[in-house]
Symmetry: C2
C-alpha cells in the first residue's frame, strides 16, 4: 500500500496528487489555507498566470488540457505601451502561437475539483504543518480554526508547499543541503480592469499588455470574461516605490505620470491598491530535492523562479510529467524515482533560475535598447522563414516542450552564431539569401557554434 | 539600561560580550553546549585555527593580544609536502611575518575566562534556544540536561551562534531576507600527532605543514606543546572518501598510498579517525544582518566562509572591532549602529566568501600548476624588494588590517598589472630594474591598472 502525504494543495500539489491517486496511492493533501472555493482567500494575491505548451501538455496528461484552454484567454503577442503613448504589437510567432492567460485560483479550482472526485484522495484545508519528522516520516498539522491536531505517518511526503516551503525548511537543517533564496528589490500588486458595460474588453483582447518603465512595469493579462488582470511591479523602497506611495493622491499622481493611459481604466484604484501589502518575488535554488525514499520537493518548493518567462506554473506542471515518467521507470524503488526526477529536472531549473534573473533585467532595461530590439526583430525574421532551423530561446521555452537545459545549449550556439552574423553583416542582412539558409542548416546540425 | 542577550558563547560571542559589558551593558550569554572547561565537548571537532594581524589586533583591544600570542605557536611559512616525498618551504614574507596557530578551545577558554570576570556578564551553558521572538525581542531556552525553561526579554539580541545559527534561521523567515548556504563536497576530520617522548616536535616547528593532493589535503597546525593538530580533508563520497574508508585496514592502505610520510606518526590512527563523523565546510551569505534595532548577526552566523585563507575567526574578531567603532559613533541609536556595522562589514565578507571558494580550488588544483607557482614566486620577489609598493593579496589579508574589500580593489589592479608584465616580459624579468620600480610606483598611485 502506498500512502502519500502531499503538503500544499496548490497547482502542483493537486496535479501530483491526481497522478498518485490514479496509480492507486492513498493520498492525503494538507493545505494551509482554507478552501478558497468556499471562502475567498484574501491573503493570497489574485494573480493571473500564463500557460504555455509544456504546462498544457502536462494538464493534457490528466485530461484537462481542453477544459483549461476553454477557461483561459489566449494572447498571441505582446502589446508594448511606450512612454510616448504609442503601442507596438509583437506577435509571439508567425505560426499562430499563443500563451493562455488564466487566474491562478480558477486553474487551481479546476485541478482540486478533478482531484477530489478521484477515489483515494482526501483534501484537508486550513491545516498548518507544525511538525515534520523526515526520518519516520511523519507530520503534524494544526487546524487553523479549531486548533485541533492531526498526526499522520505516510509512506512518503511530497513537499508541494511553494516558494516559502515548510518542508524545505526542514531539509535545510540537514547537513550538506545547499540552499539559496534571493529576493528581487521589486514587488508587485494585483489590480483589475473590468470589462466594459457592454461586455467588451477595455484593452484590446488577444494580447498581453506591457508598460515597461525601467525598474517599474505594468502587465495586463487578458481574461475570458473580457476583464484584464494587472500586475504592477515597483521597487519596494526609494522614489516612486511601494514605500513612497502612501495616499490616494500620491497614487493618482504616480499613475498619471507613469501610466497615464491606464489610470482612468481602473475603478477604485486606491481602494484596490491599498487593500493589501505588495507581494515579493524570489528565486529559490536548493539541492538535494529529496530525503532518502521518504520526502520529495516539487514545484516552487524545489525551484521558485522569477516570472520573467511566465514559467513558474508551467515548470511545476512539467515536474509532474517527468515525475510520472520516473515512477513508470522505477516502480516502487522510490529512492531511484526521486533521484532520477532530480537528475532530469534540476539542471533545467538551475539554468532557468539564472535565465529568469537575467531576463528580468532585460525586460526592465534592454527593451529600450535599439540594438536589442533590432536583434529580436532579426531573430523573428529568421524564425518566420525557417521555423525548423531557427527558434529563439523564448520560442523554445514557450512553444515547445524541449527541456530548458537543452534549449539553453541550442541558444548558446545560436547566440555565438548571431553575434558573428551581426558583426559581419549588420542587422539588415538579407535573410532570404541561400547563404543564410546554408549557415542555418549547418548551425542546426551543430557544425558551427 | 542596556540588557543584551548574546546567543552563542564561542569566540565571537565571548568577545562581543566583553565589549558590551565594558560599556556598562548587562550581558547574558546563552550557549547551547555544556561548559567545555568542565566537561570535554566530544561533539565539536578539536580543531586549530590561525590568528593573523586583524584577529590579534581585535584581541589587543580587550588586552588579550600578548596572552594569546603566548599560547599560540607561530608559523613563519608553509612546508609543502609533495607527492614525491620532498618538502618545499615557502616563507609567508621576507620580514618575519607569522601566523599564530592555536586550538579553538584554548582561545575560547581564554575569552570566556576574561568575560566571566567582568561585572554584568553571566554565562549560561547547555542552553538550547527553542523559541525566538524577533519583534519583542524575547528568547526561550531549554536546559539540555534538566529540561528547565528560561525566558528572557532583553533590549537586543546578538546572534553569535555560528554557521548553523538559530537566530539567522528566524531572520530567514522574514520577507526579503536573502540567504544562501553552500556546502563543499569535501569535509574534514581532526587528528593529532603528539610531541616526541623528549618533548620535541615530530614535524619541524615554526611552519604550517601542507600535503596537497588535489581534492584531498592534509594540514598540520603546530602547537606550543610541540604536538601537531592535523586536519584531513577528503571528499564525502566516491573513491578515497570518508564514505569509502570504513575499516582500519582501508584507512591504513589509504594513508600509506596518499600520505606515507605521516601514516606512522599518528598513534591510534584508526581510533582517532573513526571516533567522530567528518565535519562539513560551508559558505553562508545573507542580508540584512539585523532586524530593526533589536537583533544583529555577528561572526559566522552572518558570514561563514571556507577556511582557505584562515580567516574565519579573524573575520569574526574583526566584526567586534568594527562593531565597537559603530557603537562609539552612534551611541544608543542602535538601528544606526547595526546598519553602519553591516555597511562596513558586509561588502568585505561577501567578497571574502567568493574569494575563499575560489582559493579553495586554487589550493586543491593550482598548486601543481607551474605557471601559478612562477607567478607566486615573482610576486614574492616584488614584495621582498618593495614591501611598501607590492603586497600580494595573501599578505594584505593576513598581515595587514586593510579591509578585505579594499585589499580586493588593490589586488584587482595588481592582477591586471601582473598579467601585462608577465605577457610582456615573462616570469624571469629583472625585478631590480629601475623601470619595474617606476611601474610599481605608478601602480601604487593608481595611475595604472
Amino acid at each position: 500500500m502506498n500512502r502519500s502525504l502531499v503538503i500544499g494543495g496548490g497547482l502542483v500539489g493537486s496535479l501530483i496528487a491526481i497522478h498518485l491517486a490514479r496509480r492507486g496511492h492513498e493520498v492525503d493533501i494538507f493545505e494551509r489555507h482554507p478552501d478558497f472555493r468556499i471562502e475567498a482567500d484574501t491573503k493570497r494575491p489574485a494573480l493571473n498566470l500564463t500557460l504555455c505548451e509544456r504546462g498544457l501538455r502536462a494538464l493534457g496528461e490528466v485530461g484537462l488540457r481542453e477544459r483549461v484552454e476553454a477557461l483561459a484567454a489566449p494572447a498571441h503577442g505582446r502589446s508594448i505601451h511606450g512612454e510616448d503613448g504609442f503601442t507596438a504589437y509583437q506577435p509571439y510567432g508567425a505560426h499562430g502561437e499563443a500563451i493562455h492567460s488564466i487566474a491562478r485560483s480558477e486553474l487551481n479550482e479546476t485541478l482540486i475539483n478533478l482531484a477530489e472526485g478521484l477515489p483515494g484522495i482526501a483534501f484537508h484545508f486550513g491545516q498548518k504543518c507544525t511538525h515534520l519528522d523526515l526520518a519516520t516520516p511523519s507530520a503534524r498539522f494544526e487546524d487553523v480554526r479549531t486548533g485541533a491536531i492531526t498526526e499522520i505517518k505516510p509512506d512518503r511526503i511530497f513537499g508541494a508547499d511553494g516558494a516559502y516551503s515548510t518542508v524545505r525548511l526542514h531539509l535545510q537543517k540537514l547537513e550538506r543541503f545547499n540552499y539559496s533564496q534571493q529576493y528581487l528589490s521589486q514587488g508587485y500588486k494585483s489590480l483589475k480592469i473590468p470589462a466594459r458595460a457592454d461586455g467588451m474588453p477595455v484593452l484590446e483582447s488577444g494580447s498581453l499588455h506591457v508598460w515597461p518603465r525601467g525598474q517599474r512595469m505594468l502587465i495586463g493579462f487578458p481574461n475570458r470574461n473580457a476583464s484584464v488582470s494587472l500586475s504592477l511591479l515597483l521597487p519596494f523602497d526609494g522614489a516612486h516605490s511601494f514605500a513612497s506611495l502612501t495616499t490616494a493622491d500620491e497614487l493618482r499622481s504616480f499613475f498619471h505620470a507613469w501610466f497615464p493611459d491606464v489610470a482612468e481604466l481602473i475603478p477604485g484604484l486606491a481602494e484596490q491598491f491599498f487593500a493589501r501589502p505588495p507581494n515579493s518575488l524570489l528565486t529559490v535554488r536548493c539541492a538535494p530535492w529529496s530525503y532518502e525514499d521518504k520526502v520529495l520537493l516539487v514545484g516552487d518548493a524545489a525551484h521558485a523562479i522569477l516570472p520573467s518567462y511566465g514559467q513558474g506554473a508551467n515548470a511545476g506542471f512539467d515536474d509532474c510529467s517527468v515525475f510520472v515518467q520516473c515512477m513508470d521507470e522505477y516502480g516502487d524503488d522510490w529512492r531511484s524515482v526521486f533521484r532520477a526526477f532530480e537528475a532530469r529536472r534540476r539542471p533545467s531549473m538551475d539554468y532557468m533560475a539564472d535565465l529568469c534573473v537575467e531576463h528580468f533585467v532585460e525586460l526592465c532595461e534592454l527593451v529600450a535598447d535599439p540594438n536589442f530590439l533590432k536583434r529580436k526583430e532579426l531573430e523573428r525574421r529568421l524564425n518566420d522563414l525557417y521555423p525548423d532551423l531557427y527558434q529563439s530561446l523564448y520560442t523554445m521555452v514557450t512553444f515547445t516542450t524541449t527541456p530548458y537545459i537543452e534549449a539553453m545549449r541550442i541558444e548558446h550556439r545560436q547566440r555565438k552564431f548571431m553575434d558573428r552574423l551581426i558583426a559581419d553583416e549588420g542587422y539588415d542582412l538579407d535573410v532570404e539569401s541561400p547563404r543564410i539558409k546554408e549557415l542555418l542548416l549547418r548551425l542546426s546540425h551543430e557544425e558551427i557554434a
